[in-house]
Symmetry: C2
Amino acid sequence: MAEQGLFKIKDDWNLEIPVIDENQIVNYGSNLLCGNGYLGYRGTLEEWGKEQYKACIVTDTYDMADGKWRELSNAPDGLYARVTIDGKNLAHDPGSLDLKTKLNFNYKYGIFERSTLSNRKENSYKIYSQRFASYDNLHLIANQYILSGVKDSDVVKIKIGIEGDVWDLNGTHLKNFSSDYDSEKNILYIKAETVEEEIELVTALSFKIDSKIKNIAVDEKEKALFLIIEVDNTDKKEIKLQRNLIIYSSNDTKNPLKKALEDAENSLEFTYDELLEKHKDKWDQKWEIADIEIKGNLMDQLALRFNLYHNIIATPTHSEYLPIGARGLSCQAYQGAAFWDQEIFNLPMFMYTDLDSAKNILKYRYHTLDGARKKAKDLGYDGAFYAWISGKSGKELCPSFFFKDVISGRKIRNHFNDWQIHVSPDISYSIWKYYLATDDINFISKYGAEILFEIARFIHSRVHFNQYKGQYEVIRLLGPDEYHENVDNNAFTNYQCRFALKIALYFYFKLKNESTGQLEKIVDKIDLNESEITAWQEIKEKIYLPKPDPENKLIEQFDGYFDLEDTTAEVLRSRLIDKSEYWGWPNGVAVFTQVIKQADVIQLFTLHDIFSEDVITANYDYYEKRTQHGSSLSPSQYAVVAARLGRSKEAYRYFTKSAYIDLKSSNKAVSGGTFIGGVHTAAAGGVWQVLINGFAGMILNKDGLLFKPNLPEEWDHIKWKLIYKKAKLKFKLTRDEFLISSDKANKRDIEFKVFNKKYIIEPGEKLKISL
Amino acid sequence: MAEQGLFKIKDDWNLEIPVIDENQIVNYGSNLLCGNGYLGYRGTLEEWGKEQYKACIVTDTYDMADGKWRELSNAPDGLYARVTIDGKNLAHDPGSLDLKTKLNFNYKYGIFERSTLSNRKENSYKIYSQRFASYDNLHLIANQYILSGVKDSDVVKIKIGIEGDVWDLNGTHLKNFSSDYDSEKNILYIKAETVEEEIELVTALSFKIDSKIKNIAVDEKEKALFLIIEVDNTDKKEIKLQRNLIIYSSNDTKNPLKKALEDAENSLEFTYDELLEKHKDKWDQKWEIADIEIKGNLMDQLALRFNLYHNIIATPTHSEYLPIGARGLSCQAYQGAAFWDQEIFNLPMFMYTDLDSAKNILKYRYHTLDGARKKAKDLGYDGAFYAWISGKSGKELCPSFFFKDVISGRKIRNHFNDWQIHVSPDISYSIWKYYLATDDINFISKYGAEILFEIARFIHSRVHFNQYKGQYEVIRLLGPDEYHENVDNNAFTNYQCRFALKIALYFYFKLKNESTGQLEKIVDKIDLNESEITAWQEIKEKIYLPKPDPENKLIEQFDGYFDLEDTTAEVLRSRLIDKSEYWGWPNGVAVFTQVIKQADVIQLFTLHDIFSEDVITANYDYYEKRTQHGSSLSPSQYAVVAARLGRSKEAYRYFTKSAYIDLKSSNKAVSGGTFIGGVHTAAAGGVWQVLINGFAGMILNKDGLLFKPNLPEEWDHIKWKLIYKKAKLKFKLTRDEFLISSDKANKRDIEFKVFNKKYIIEPGEKLKISL
């Protein structure tokens, strides 16, 4: 989808691929993903296989097959289909010239459609297929497959079934296959186990055909089970196949086979359209709050919804035990595991549009506390040091040797797993924001406080006091900018650590004052000592915070950053020996320069509204020139800060950089031996922030809710909704006006500020504020 | 000198090279160096030039010619000589087959001799030449050059003069040449200036010939001045040339040319033999105390004296302002600058054999305090952080980018200059040892205390308090083992830091109690605050010292060392992609393994007598297997520890490894683009330690002097002398007895222990202790 010409905006929800470009197959797979937070089915054709990166990624199936990478498993593919007519293939295989296939994806309901027309002179067969991953039953993918243009004389055979030989990134995960076909019920299945964890994974398939069946031949292989169905198509120009693909693992239920067969059978009781309706209902409920309307640029509207859709389907909202993968469920890359992206990029949208999901996302960190405790202990610290790459258990999944020096071929010891500590205080930060947005003190006392205390404890064990300077320091860090490892007092990390201590202390004393006994429970459980509280207070007071220089207003990214060579990413590019070289640690081209991978000091500004405008301006101007945006996390943060500074042109430019990162991706599937496909879910979450925190200029802090709206020139208006302290609010931002209405059903007045003016809105009230 | 067969032990002071091996020219130059601490004249033939690494390195001529490396300059060569007979060359040029040259070097007096015999059938000319760098006048190198076998009919021309186009390692240092020849006085000179510092450097040459001179032709070039002397050799079979080469720089005297011409003229008033006698007197005085006699192995005896000789001539004993170069004055490599080698390796011998020189060596660190203060400040610390590579000013000469990644060609940021902090406490340690050996409180109050306080201050500013563990830590270090940079709590460094604080506090309170007003002066001068003293005490108490494990007795070299891959240097060698790869930081083969470059924990044992024998044994056994001895500093320390453990076979093996490191070197001159020749002066100093601290088992600490003698099987006895607390003591160690006598002139009784028994020896007394 590299070229804009390759996809077409059909309308504000639908994207069309008029002609399949075979170089873009890997991007179709991710961008046109059907998903529901439980599974992700890649946007591929029924007749394709693992060579086309076809996969159905399933949550909670972490397994290690290569001795190094623990990743999610792909389920056997139950949507395989291939038609022959008179023995001749009617499949859009790569390289085929006599068929033309068009794709459509509906981002409102996650519906993938394909239409294939034969170009052959003698006939005009058509395959039309539609599928969705149900939000009504997360284990179901429903498919309607229609073959039309059939002549009476045609011998039509449709091969369907389940293929267990699936695409895997790092080693083959499935073993011990068994299968069966119930010809009465028209249900077949494959059961397999993952190689390491021996998780049972079942794919069942039930189907209906609205034609008479002449014959069904069973083709059974070690890892596959196919049916070759010969249809009696006399007097039928159109053959309709309804299929229900069901997936369960033994982590979902004790007897996944039983459940899968039940679901397969039950789903046959509904028509495809009925199943679709139930699914749509769920999405309609989601969009009721989550949708954002942009008027004035249809492509931007679609791109925005693309990102909202992907942030939603990436998130296992059904569970409080599962992380949001950095590539969601679009592929196995990044191990289906959470990074700091989860809280800082994915979570904010849920915090204001889907509270239950937001709570689940945070509870996940509660349930993985033991993993974080173990990591801290293993590294000689205490408390909770969250994994850089966090799967289900929260144990560190990030290997010590990660990148390769492509010149020498030698492995590089990257310190993501031990030096990039900001992940822990980032979680504290998000708990605080969640609390501000929801007033959910129950969550804090039951889950949040324990996390906060353990993170404070970790920080306590991690910082060092510089007796000579009378300050606590945080030494040997990797900040958000990953090109500079082994740095001291990374501004972002130090500010976040201080904030985490502050929040831990805030709730410690709040719970203490409220005397509900809840504090005592936690203190008891985690053996928290009074002297630790004193220590947190002291560290909070004395931790070194790199301050803006009084003259030039710059905040130094870390100790000594300004002494590094001052150059640009372009110059560094010219110094590369090998194009695929890693730019960072330990000896990459960026290491001894001021060129940074991504927002770092700037990232601080998006989180903390404590810096004056001249400081933000000075730092934006300084760091922007030196940022390579080598991470997909970066552009959205620059967009937010630019928008808040009123630089709407720049903000818009960074918005597009973030919003189209996958849609316009021209990435090859594999680079330097590593699969790099997949949806950038953090960028998806970041796009929401650009709209709400950037263009709407929403800031939430202890003083309340504040808006500094700033509509980009390219658009006529933006409309959105938020839930804030349980109240539903509706917003519209036009060139001249900012409209806010409070839902009638709301139970409280809501206070907020727009720029410097205070407003209070009552339930049912509408405010119109001139800009 | 790779093969033992290539050199011959003539007697216990003389080494002979029977036939010149052209592959060893670089090693002859260093090993057969004439030197006197002021200059070093490489062991080369008169007719050779810079291609044969001929050079005369002069102290205190630091100059940077290539924009990167500041190094000592080489003076114009005044000992050039080339004979023609009937127009035919009589020179031992490389590749010449009709001449045979034998070399001899006398290590007692530093006399270089060459004898060249022509192999031509028709004649039997001989060149015999002898030279020494005078200890009577440090600016003088005297040479006697004799041509014999001359026939009446021969037309003999001798070309002598001064060549200013000299060998330089890093850029050409000399410019603005001027020269003159005074034909009446037979004195010629070349004056030049160094390119950066514009130091005037003068080489003058005066000469006498004991034959009539037919004619002298002057051959003047831009950078050279030669005389072609035609000799009237009627009735003379032998022509004797006496030459006095004089070198002065403008750092020695205001008008170096005047001084050089004066000295050149004055020296002509003496015969060569008279000059030699005066020189010998000085050496005799030195050897009176410094010599160590080994009976039982002539080669070991010679090798030992080779090392004593080189440690002496490397040391600018004439000055308190100059460092001991890591390669002495044998070449420009290592910048003629001091490393920690100076105190820990070179100094001990002087401390017990030449007190004035020992004091000068330490005073050098006093005079370079400002450089150390600047370095500390530049890096954000306080006090005195001594340069890793220290020239005259004490400013850091070690560049940040030093090694090259030979695979990518990219420079490596080595952290010798900022992370290898132990150099500072190593100096404190040596001041303490000097004090123990001399009782020289005057030195402490005038020089030592200020150094000690500033080092304590540096440590104070460098350590961090881990509030959680209640301990001070030293973070981000490079210990003696240079393969592991960026480590925390390197045992050696932490112990040394604590020791440095202890010593600083000891003298602070000693000077305070003695109330001489001296403390107040220093406190005033360096603005020392009472709160700093309190801080030093607290850090001393609470600094983390890696302790021996209660079970296996091992001391961890640094935090996490034992978690590294446990392998051997041999395995690592097999992993090299390029033989010349650097093994260390940041991504060399040793970095993530337990293979270490050199003694580190073991180095701790040689300095501090505070560990039990089982701890030393366990650690010796553990670390010895993992030590590559990639540094010349390593073997001597293993030898000392092995000897103290009574493992005399191993000790002897490590003694030979250290003692023959240069004598048996088969190194090529240049490796990886870097000249690696030159005498390993630290190894030379280390050999003295092996004898005295190892085989004699001498340990000096606060409790006094202790001997644990242990004679290697290979030897019959060792005899040596020491000065201890101004008393001259004589020792002899045989298989069965340890004999000690105290000089009659001594003014005090000396207490000491041998093993666990205490002895007191009176002036004039002799003790015989059975072993």
